[in-house]
Structure formats: C-alpha cells, structure tokens
C-alpha cells in the first residue's frame, strides 16, 4: 500500500486512536501529520510495514511525546508527559471503538451544528479545511476559525472522548446521524458549489454511514440511514435534466439508476425493519426502496408507500412528510382523497409560507381536471417559492395548466 492509499483508507481511524492516546485534538492532528511525513521517507527506503496503521499510530504517539517535552510549560504538561511515557511501548493498533469515540465527540450537542459537520469531515474523512470551506460555500478563514473554536471548546469545556453509554446513547446517536445525513444532503443537492465536490460529500457521508453500520451492528436506524443514502444516491444520475431542472420520479430514466446500490439498500432496509418499532430513517428508506424497485413509475406500490407514510407521519410529522403522505394517498386512493388530506393540513395554518403545499394541491387539482383551480394554486406556490430550479419547474407546470384551461 502506498502512503496516499493508507491516508485515504485509514486517516480517520489513525487520528481517532492518536487523539485517545494523546488526549488533545490539535496535538494529535499535528503528530499524525508528522508521522505521515516520516512514512513518505522511510517507507520509500524500507517498504511499507506489515501493519501500516499501527506503525503510523506509534510514530504519531512518539512525535506527540517529543512535542510535549519541547513545550516549555510546567506541572500540567509534565503530568501529561508522565501519563504518556507510562503508556505501552511498541506498536499500537487502532481500536475500532476509537472512530466511534471520535464521531460522538465531533457531534456533541454542546458544539454548534456547523462545527459538528466541519469537525466530522475534517477528522473522520480527512478533508482539508479548504475542501470543506468550498463545499459549504464559506470563506476558508471562517471555516478555519470554526474548527479552532470547536477544538478549544472540546478541550476547555471538558467534552470527554467516549462513546455515550446507556440512556444517553439514542439521543446522541440521533445527533450523529443528523450530521451524516446533512453532509449527504449537501452533496446531494446540485443547487450550488462545484458539482464534483458535492458528489464527494455524498460519498463521504455514505462512508460514514458504513462505518456506523460496521461499528454499531445492533442499531436498526443506522442501517436505515445508510440504506436511505444509498437509495437516493442510486438515482443521482437522473435527478435533474440537462438544464438543471429537477425531474420527478415519473420522468427519471430508470435504466440509469444504480441497481447494485438499490439492492444493497433494499437488504439494509429489510434488516432495519425487523426491529420492533422502525424509526424514521428505516421508514424513509423503506419508502425509497419501494420507489427504486418499481421497474416503471406506473408499477409503484403506492398503497404500501401510503401505509409507510402513515407510520412515518406519526413519529416524524414534518411538513414534507405530511405532504408526501397526502401525495401517496392520492396515488393509492385517488386525487380527491389526497386533496382532502391537504385541505386538513392547510386548515391547520402551520404551512402557510410553505410553497410545496399549494404545489401539491395544484398537482392534484390538475389530475382532477380542475385546470382553473390548479393554475391558481400554482400561482400561490410561485409566490412562495425561493429556489430557482423549483421556480422554473412550477412555471413550466403553470404554463402547461394554463394552456389546458384555455383549450
């Protein structure tokens, strides 16, 4: 294995272990960097060692101890030094647990949400500050400051480097999963930022998802999350047309969907649904699997999807979920039933500024042949929409509908 390959494959797990051994993020990052530099030179001469990751961990630890010695500070630092000198000598293989410790620490609720994302990408995925800044369209110094502040908070506020135990675990895990899913969605939306880099973000999120499944095999939601990401990603090539306009599931060319990813996603969904009470990620993944497995849009199992949304709405009633439930019911039981549901949602008044509500109403009215009412609803949606691609989509629909109502 070359040094670059080791870096790509193992940076996260090496850093995670060195942070545990050295007890400080900054020291650990510096030490790991120095260790990789040494590897470049020494492996060129003597070849790569038997266990490259363990070699790098040991080398990094020694570099850190050297640095501690060089730091001209008293008591607190000397205590640290004694602790590390007392540690085991020789090769130190990374512990699997270390990556979990790292991700739970990076995603600690005490850190600002943007900081959790940045720190996770920096430490577990090995992205550079520049790469992360570019992906989130944020100036590099801002991103750099964000990382500095986050690491300082971990150190000064005493955020411990461990995997939460018992009662604390479910809530903390959901924070971790939220970070991973956010990274995935950033990479998934083609709205802005260099397209290539956005794709890398989705891949990193999927890598993190795989890591969670590997390290937390008894968690069904973690399988659900990975499945959901794989199933969405499988359709990546067909999400937008050449001009960047979003394509609906009906319009997407299913021949371009990644069947291997869909199969893997479907297997994970099955495993996730065996849990006693499926969580939101598992349910969303199950819905995505049903869509992905239908050979043609017309063969989609809408009644199953509608009943899954019915479960999802109860545990995770976000506006998007409620709307999708109504749309699924419309597909399963006819547009009128869907419209009735949307009426109920509109009646509650919570989604007044949410353009997808009138957009959904417009679509169902159009299907019922009520072109005039549909056009009015599209206009209401256009008054609320903010995203440019979505605006163009709605304008296209409005034009089609207006043409019909004139005919």
């Amino acid at each position: 294995m070359t040094v670059e390959e080791v870096h790509r494959e193992h940076y996260g797990r090496i850093l995670a272990t060195v942070i545990r051994l050295v007890g400080d993020f900054d020291r650990a990052e510096e030490a790991v960097q120095e260790a990789f530099a040494v590897a470049v030179e020494s492996w060129a001469i003597g070849g790569a060692p038997q266990n490259p990751a363990a070699w790098l961990v040991s080398t990094a630890r020694h570099k850190a101890i050297d640095q501690i010695r060089r730091d001209a500070r008293r008591d607190a630092r000397r205590e640290e030094l004694e602790r590390h000198l007392r540690g085991r000598a020789g090769e130190e293989p990374p512990e699997e647990e270390d990556r979990l410790r790292l991700v739970f620490t990076c995603c600690h609720p005490a850190l600002a949400p943007e900081a959790r994302v940045a720190l996770t990408l920096r430490t577990l995925c090995g992205l550079t500050t520049e790469e992360i800044a570019r992906a989130f369209v944020v100036p590099v110094p801002t991103l750099a400051q964000r990382l500095v502040r986050a690491k300082a908070k971990i150190r000064d506020a005493g955020i411990a480097y461990l995997v939460p135990a018992g009662d604390a675990l479910p809530e903390r895990l959901s924070t971790v999963m939220a970070v991973v899913y956010l990274v995935f969605n950033e990479g998934y939306s083609a709205s802005f930022g260099p397209a290539l880099l956005r794709g890398e973000l989705s891949r990193e999120a999927i890598r993190l998802g795989r890591m969670l499944v590997e390290l937390m095999p008894s968690s069904p939601e973690v399988k659900g999350l990975l499945a959901l990401m794989l199933l969405h990603d499988a359709r990546r090539a067909t999400r937008v047309d050449a001009s960047g306009l979003p394509l609906t599931l009906e319009e997407q060319d299913r021949a371009l969907w990644d069947r291997g990813q869909i199969a893997e996603g479907a297997r994970l969904v099955e495993a996730a649904l065996r849990a006693s009470a499926p969580g939101p990620y598992a349910l969303q993944a199950a819905i995505a699997a049903l869509h992905a497995q239908a050979p043609r849009a017309a063969e989609t199992d809408w009644p199953q999807i509608a009943s899954l949304y019915g479960l999802l709405v109860r545990i995770h009633p976000t506006p998007v979920v409620e709307l999708n439930f109504a749309v699924a019911v419309a597909m399963a039981d006819g547009p009128q039933r869907g419209l009735d549901l949307l009426e109920r949602i509109a009646g509650r008044g919570e989604l007044q500024r949410y353009h997808l509500l009138p957009a959904a109403q417009a679509d169902l009215l159009r299907r019922l042949g009520r072109a005039g009412d549909a056009a009015a609803a599209y206009r209401r949606a256009l008054a609320l929409v903010t995203n440019d691609a979505e605006r163009r989509y709605l304008e296209k629909r409005l034009a089609e509908t207006a043409a019909v109502s004139r005919a």
Binding site: D75, A76, A157, G158, A160, P164
Partner: protein
C-alpha cells in the same frame, strides 16, 4: 473539572406564581442541593436577590462609574448559581438538567472554570 451553573429566569414569572407553587420549587431546590452535596459534586451555591438590587462598577476611560441595576437589561436575569465539581461536561450537563428550572422556563448556563495551575 469545575463548572459554574448560572441560573437565568424571568423574575416577574416567579412573582406571579401562587405561594404554594413557590414553596414547592424552593423545596425542590433544597432537595437538589442536598443531593449534590451528598454525591460530592457541590462546591458552592446560592440564590441571589432580584436584579433590581444590583449595582454595577463600569470602567469608562480609566474611571469607575457606579450605576444602578444589573449588567444588562433583559427579561431573563441571573437568579442564582452553583459551583460544582464534575468529571466532564456530560456530568455537568446532567446535573444542570436536575436543577428545578422547568416550571420557570429557566436557562442554565454551564461554564467551565479555568483550570488553575498547580502552585509551584
């Protein structure tokens, strides 16, 4: 590690509570304090008089000005504090959540105390 747990709430809300409710909350505070004394986390703690009793020393251009009232005029004011010893932030947060702040919609700020260097 030591942490300050700073309790912020809306004083007018406290004033509007029926006496029985106030008594209940005070009892919960006493129980909480006793519990953390027993568990070894307690270092100090007190209720403060209302914000209107505060006086500020403000340094302006080398001169100390005396002003009546709290540091900032805000709906929520510092009403009390605890100084605790905890293993890490998670333990400090767990203790902060046990402070009877729920009925007052209180905010408890958990601030780490700077590590003092061991004396030479």
């Amino acid at each position: 590690m030591q942490y300050m747990l700073l309790i912020y709430d809306d004083e007018t809300r406290w004033g509007k509570l029926p006496e029985a409710e106030q008594g209940k909350i005070m009892k919960e505070f006493r129980e909480f304090t006793e519990a953390i004394v027993k568990s070894g986390n307690y270092r100090a703690g007190d209720q403060l008089h209302p914000a209107s009793t505060a006086t500020c020393v403000r340094w302006k251009q080398g001169k100390p000005l005396t002003t009546d009232g709290p540091y900032a005029e805000a709906r929520e004011q510092l009403g009390g504090y605890y100084l605790i010893e905890a293993r890490d932030l998670d333990e400090a947060m767990a203790l902060a959540k046990r402070i009877p702040g729920q009925s007052l919609d209180a905010t408890i700020e958990v601030r780490p105390v700077s590590q003092r260097e061991a004396s030479a």
